[in-house]
């Protein structure tokens, strides 16, 4: 009997599911080897099909997307119960991902802009989506949007992580192969090389031993050389604080790495580690010159924590309310 695998998505863009499709011809081999029992983007298995399965009968669930709504959280719990291994697939499940940037804002701020203050919204009655609403005598329900964006392991116990936004077909295949051959590393491992991206970058030889910055350039302000180390060109390339595995895809498009694979195992908070490394290498020695140089990184949260805010040590902008009634009934 073929091992059962499930794919599911939460607060996701679909790119991780698309990454599996990008196996291209190799997808046929995967279909041969496993029994896919859930994949809402492509298959017809329903929630009650999964509920009917015995616990732990799914060998592995690859769940992508962050957890932002009550429905997503419920599904994470359900699949956790039914699976031997729960694998956080992609940056959103691993670290919170780009949707995690919403942790810099309150839910009220989001709801108010989207449904009332946006320039194209016409909503004089200030209607907002409700977890329960009445229409024509009938009751309609929606899941609740939580205040926080969470990575998967902030909600359920996670066995492994496959990083990337999205993960490459190569590391996904390697992970699935390891799973099927029973050759998995210790629980909690991130299934990608444990080296900084610089190791895999074709520009490695041009990275100076002693990097120093007189200033930082934003990518649209300069023309980038396609062969020279991007840090050496004065742009912020997160590769130095980012786990390898993608073989420097973004630098191959002549743009800097933005950190989507997350940190190596030796770093707890990717954002502050990169901040530390970059800033230490400034040439400026007095406060005024330092401030001017640092103005070249005008959005430190978005630069250093682009994918990892939800899993950072602070997790969220700390002075936002714990919970708010935003016209959504419990």
């Amino acid at each position: 009997m073929k091992p059962k695998i499930a794919f599911y998505w939460c607060a996701s863009c679909g790119g991780c599911d698309e990454a599996v499709v990008d196996f291209a011809e190799d997808i046929l081999g995967v279909v041969e080897a496993v029994d896919i029992v859930m994949w809402p983007v492509a298959m017809d298995f329903k929630k009650h099909d999964v509920e009917a399965m015995p616990d732990k009968s799914i060998v592995a669930t690859l769940l992508n997307g962050a957890i932002r709504t009550s429905e997503q959280e419920e599904m994470a719990h359900l699949l956790r119960r039914k699976s031997q291994f729960m694998i956080a697939y992609g940056a959103c499940a691993h670290l919170g991902g780009i949707p995690g940037l919403a942790n810099e804002f309150s839910r009220e701020q989001v709801i108010r802009w989207v449904y009332q203050d946006g320039p194209t919204v016409v909503n004089p009655e200030a209607t907002r989506p409700q977890t329960e609403s009445q229409s024509n005598g009938d009751t309609l329900t929606l899941p609740r949007v939580w205040n926080l964006v969470r990575a998967l392991d902030q909600v359920v116990d996670v066995d492994y992580y496959i990083p990337g936004c999205p993960p490459t077909p190569k590391i996904t295949k390697a992970a699935i192969t390891a799973l099927l051959e029973g050759k998995l590393p210790p629980k909690g491992s991130v299934l990608a090389p444990d080296v900084a991206l610089c190791e895999q970058c074709s520009r490695k030889s041009t990275k100076p031993a002693n990097l120093s910055f007189t200033e930082f350039h934003r990518p649209h302000q300069v023309i980038l050389d396609s062969e020279k180390c991007l840090l050496a060109q004065g742009v912020v390339c997160m590769g130095a604080a980012t786990r390898g595995g993608c073989e420097a895809a973004c630098p191959s498009g002549n743009m800097p790495c933005t950190g989507c694979f997350g940190p190596t195992s030796r770093v707890r908070d990717q954002g502050s580690k990169m901040l530390s490394s970059l800033c230490a290498n400034l040439t400026a020695k007095d406060e005024k010159a330092i401030r001017i140089a640092l103005d070249g990184i005008p959005d430190p949260v978005g630069t250093f924590y682009r994918y990892g805010l939800a899993k950072s040590m602070l997790r969220r902008k700390v002075n936002l309310p714990a919970d708010e009634a935003v016209g959504v009934k419990r």
Binding site: S12, G14, E18, F105, P166, R218
Partner: protein, 509 residues
């Protein structure tokens, strides 16, 4: 009978009748699949068992417009592409054009052509996916075919393994082209204000010329497949032209100076249900024409034509609902800008009747016509001597404040609007995502299909597929499913009575 007993009996009878009258039956389809994201459909039956109302609900929200605040504008192409991993290139390009507007710079000719080349490659591969894997099975295999076959496996059985491999292989090559310029195909990195990050080396050109040539052949082949399997089948033609899938609404699309469709750039044109031009405006003026309506039962907002006001989920002369994407674009364009696409376009209308065509399922055919157009455009661009040029950037010098850009995503017109401070950090952002433009019409299509098909409380497998087809024709992108695996729509229909007792459950799996 004793008068007191009679009275008691009458009252009891009245109560029983009232209860029966008030009885509501509810059919829930949860979840819909082959969307990027989540969706569910709630159908309410009256006491005759006919459909009274149906709702397509989108149950999620991420809040991109808000968490873009404070981010540098030049990061918008890469951040907004995370709205959708199936059409990231559409968001990437719309944001890049908004940056051009923000900094008042135009890309040099080589850069513009590279953008167009990538964009047309993306349109071609994304449309191919929908035609063969998503929507295609409904026609290539048939809406009545057993559900086990109504997926790509069935498609391959019908058209052959060689064709299946051709589809997969063609998409892979097109996506490799996108990754060449964009670093990655899912969430590319190439877009910058006034240009692109990477050029085309002369030694790589022959490979891409071959890809473009193969792409055009493939698009024409797809049209042939569509002819042989769909158009030659009178049942399918009848289905496409049936009333259950017809809506008379306005249509919106992007056109060039000759009023011909251009996916990458142009002005926005809207025609009314009779095909007369209603409006023509640059993307910068979108707020004069596009407004969003909110309902409490869905997180998605519904777009409508602002000057006409929200008139509800209805079609016809009073309606302000409009539609986008392949059918709409064909209805809006005066003709196709490339020769073979033009032929296909002419055949489309001579078969289906005068413009505009209001048959939702004709989107599938229009999509194939657009594949040909995208492929021909790719061939033009790879043969343009500018394409290997080295002038890729026009560096911004002006102070930023407002930038608005629009493209035609595969699923419709997409608007990106950014306002920044003097440093170019986002202060406000507004995004009208392609499927939002269709949201009202999709909701109407689902309801109309449900009403047309569910009678007297009879819920069958056929229903499930027909309701499915009503939204799948739009290839909705708050879900863009693009997978090569058995793609039945997983539908479970649960029928409850007023007391929430489960009466019947049907599962399509």
């Amino acid at each position: 009978m004793n008068p007191d007993s009679q009275k008691v009996w009458n009252e009891a009878n009245q109560r029983a009748n009232d209860a029966a009258q008030a009885q509501r039956r509810r059919v829930t389809v949860d979840p819909i699949t082959r969307l990027e994201g989540h969706g569910k459909i709630d159908i309410f039956l009256d006491n005759q068992g006919d459909v009274e109302k149906a709702y397509l609900q989108i149950p999620e929200l991420r809040g991109f417009e808000v968490f873009c605040i404070g981010r540098p504008a030049e990061e918008m192409p890469q951040i907004t592409s995370r709205i959708c991993g199936v059409c990231p290139t559409a968001h990437h390009m719309a944001a890049t054009k908004a940056l051009d507007d923000l900094y008042q710079v135009q890309p040099p000719p080589t850069a513009r052509k590279i953008r167009e080349l990538v964009y047309n490659a993306f349109m071609l591969e994304d449309h191919a996916l929908h035609v063969y894997i998503l929507g295609g099975p409904d026609f290539i295999v048939g809406p009545d075919a057993p559900k086990e076959e109504r997926n790509v496996v069935g498609v391959i059985q019908k058209v052959g393994l060689e064709v299946g491999k051709k589809v997969i292989g063609m998409r892979r090559q097109l996506r490799e082209l996108i990754a060449y310029f964009g670093g990655k195909v899912i969430h590319p990195v190439m877009g910058l204000p006034g240009g692109v990050s990477k050029g085309l080396k002369a030694e790589d050109l022959p490979r891409f010329k071959q890809v473009a040539k193969d792409g055009l052949e493939f698009a024409l082949f797809t049209l042939q497949v569509f002819h042989d399997i769909v158009l030659k089948n009178p049942r399918y033609v009848e289905l496409i032209t049936s009333d259950a899938y017809t809506h008379r609404t306005y249509y919106m699309g992007q056109v060039d100076e000759q009023n011909q469709v251009n996916f990458y750039d142009g002005q926005i044109r809207v025609v009314d249900p009779d095909g007369r031009e209603y409006a023509r405006f640059p993307a910068q003026k979108y707020r004069d024409f596009v407004a969003e309506h909110v309902e409490p039962w869905s997180y998605v907002k519904f777009c409508y034509l602002k000057p006409l006001g929200w008139q509800g989920f209805q079609e016809g002369p009073q309606s302000s609902v409009y539609s986008v994407a392949p059918l709409a674009r064909l209805n809006v364009t005066e003709s196709m800008p490339t020769p073979q696409a033009r032929q296909a376009y002419q055949e489309f209308y001579s078969t289906l009747g005068a413009k505009p065509v209001h048959h939702t399922l004709a989107n599938h055919w229009a999509r194939v016509v657009e594949m040909i157009c995208a492929a021909e455009r790719m061939v033009e661009l790879v043969n343009d001597p500018d394409i290997t040029g080295t002038d890729l950037r026009c560096l911004p010098t002006k102070k930023p404040s407002v930038g608005i850009g629009a493209v035609e995503a595969p699923r419709g017109t997409l608007f990106h609007h950014f306002e920044t401070d003097a440093r170019g950090l986002i202060e406000r952002a507004n995004l009208i995502v392609a499927t939002q433009n269709n949201a009202a019409r999709i909701a109407m299509s689902v309801e109309k299909a449900a009403k047309g098909l569910i009678k007297k409380g009879q819920v069958t497998e056929g229903l499930l597929n027909m309701v499915e087809m009503a939204f799948r024709a739009y290839d909705p992108c708050f879900g863009c499913a693009t997978h090569t695996l058995p793609g039945h729509l997983p539908l479970a229909v649960s029928i409850y009575d007023q007391n929430h007792e489960l009466l019947k459950e049907l599962v399509q799996s």
